[in-house]
Subunit: 225 residues, 2 copies
DNA sequence: GTCTATAAACGGATAGAC
DNA sequence: GTCTATCCGTTTATAGAC
């Protein structure tokens, strides 16, 4: 599985190329030949190692998301142990949720990129490679964080807490996918654009403030535009 | 262009089918034959009416997003006229931004669905059919709202304002795309799931609170998970 | 495990009859 | 404007040599 040589073996090179190309173009728009071409291996190796194009996609996610059963809640466990029954502060919880639950485990495939578009893409692109085999650990982790958030913010209903976590996932996925349809980062030559830590630094006060806000559901909302 | 008959003409049926299938499967994963099959018309009609698959995609967005040059900022104009030089309250501005700038104009193509996954998909899917021909009016509208937000929230830098608008777009796109990888809406049988107005009602306090929050960029943020 | 060659189906686009 | 038949490149996947 591991070689002491200079070049990774064919299987790894295929995974690397597939990860990058699926990320850039999406699943359907990426052909097996593009992948093998980029990896410098014959086409047949994809089917030999992964069975099919979809099998390759699944292998890419499996590798990117980390080992199965890997505890994605261990950090939360630690926080709760330290708190000793007390509620954990919101900002700490938000940090933990962003860095631990939503963040990917595997680091820098290409060149120091810690954050992955891959997971962002997984949240949106339909078809094989997304919901179908998305690990259950993520949903379990989400539920653990839901409980923690509800302890910290007892003034919110469960629905409100879940909705707000849902919104957070949306923001993070959008940023992770690196999408910018409005061309905001171009138009305003935005600082921190593309820098995960910078983005998260901008994100945190926004999210924390949003999360602690009173629910306040108002009946009629939108004027006709 | 319009018939008094029962069935819409071929061109319209193609647009309807394409809108639905592009929305469900994405652009690359949807073939022209799938579309013409669903529409009950021969394949050749796509090229006759729209020139190419991409031309069809553009026509779909053109129809969904409303007429070109349609003023997407007219409501903001009205608000600013009423304010008479004064800053517009944040919640009003947020409402206007959500309902007017980001919302789609065309209603219920399929069956009473006002909100569109289509635009949500446009925000994420790579390749043709997304950023390439996304109308400039959207970006213009964003800039108008940026100016309004900066007047209302002078304690924020331009970067912070733009970032927060960016986050909002991310949330809305996620909700619009209807994606829910964590299966939150299933798991918790979430109230308001799928109901645009309900979602927006949940969204508003979250966004308003996040937007007015002090920037507070902190140097070191995330503990190792 | 790696490669060449090929199979079998599907992709978008078009020519030309009606 | 609508339809049939077809072209031609590309797709995934496989068979079989090395």
């Amino acid at each position: 599985m591991a070689r002491s040589d200079s070049l990774p073996d064919a299987k790894t090179r295929i995974l690397d190329a597939a990860e990058r190309l699926f990320m850039e173009n999406g699943y359907a728009a990426t052909s097996v030949r593009m992948i093998t071409g980029a990896a410098g291996v014959p086409v047949a190796l994809v089917n030999y190692h992964f069975g099919s194009k979809q099998g390759l996609m699944e292998a890419v996610y499996e590798r990117a998301l980390g080992a199965r059963g890997g505890s994605r809640v261990s950090y939360l466990d630690k926080l709760e142990a330290e708190a000793g029954g007390q509620a954990i502060p919101v900002d700490v919880l938000v940090d933990a949720f962003l860095s631990s639950a939503l963040r990917l485990t595997r680091k820098d495939t290409i060149s120091g990129e810690v954050f992955k578009q891959l997971i962002g893409r997984a949240f949106y692109e339909p078809g094989p490679g997304t919901e179908a085999f998305f690990p259950i650990e993520y949903r379990e982790a989400v539920d653990r964080y839901r409980q923690a958030f509800m302890r910290t913010l007892p003034h919110l209903s469960q629905d409100d807490v879940v909705w707000r976590m849902y919104f957070i996932v949306g923001i993070v996925a959008y940023a992770m996918a690196g999408k910018d349809v409005m061309r905001m980062t171009e138009t305003y030559s935005l600082a921190d654009a593309g820098r995960p830590d910078g983005i998260l630094a901008r994100l945190r006060p926004f999210i924390v403030a949003g999360f602690v806000a009173p629910a306040g559901v108002m009946p009629t909302l939108f004027a006709s535009a």
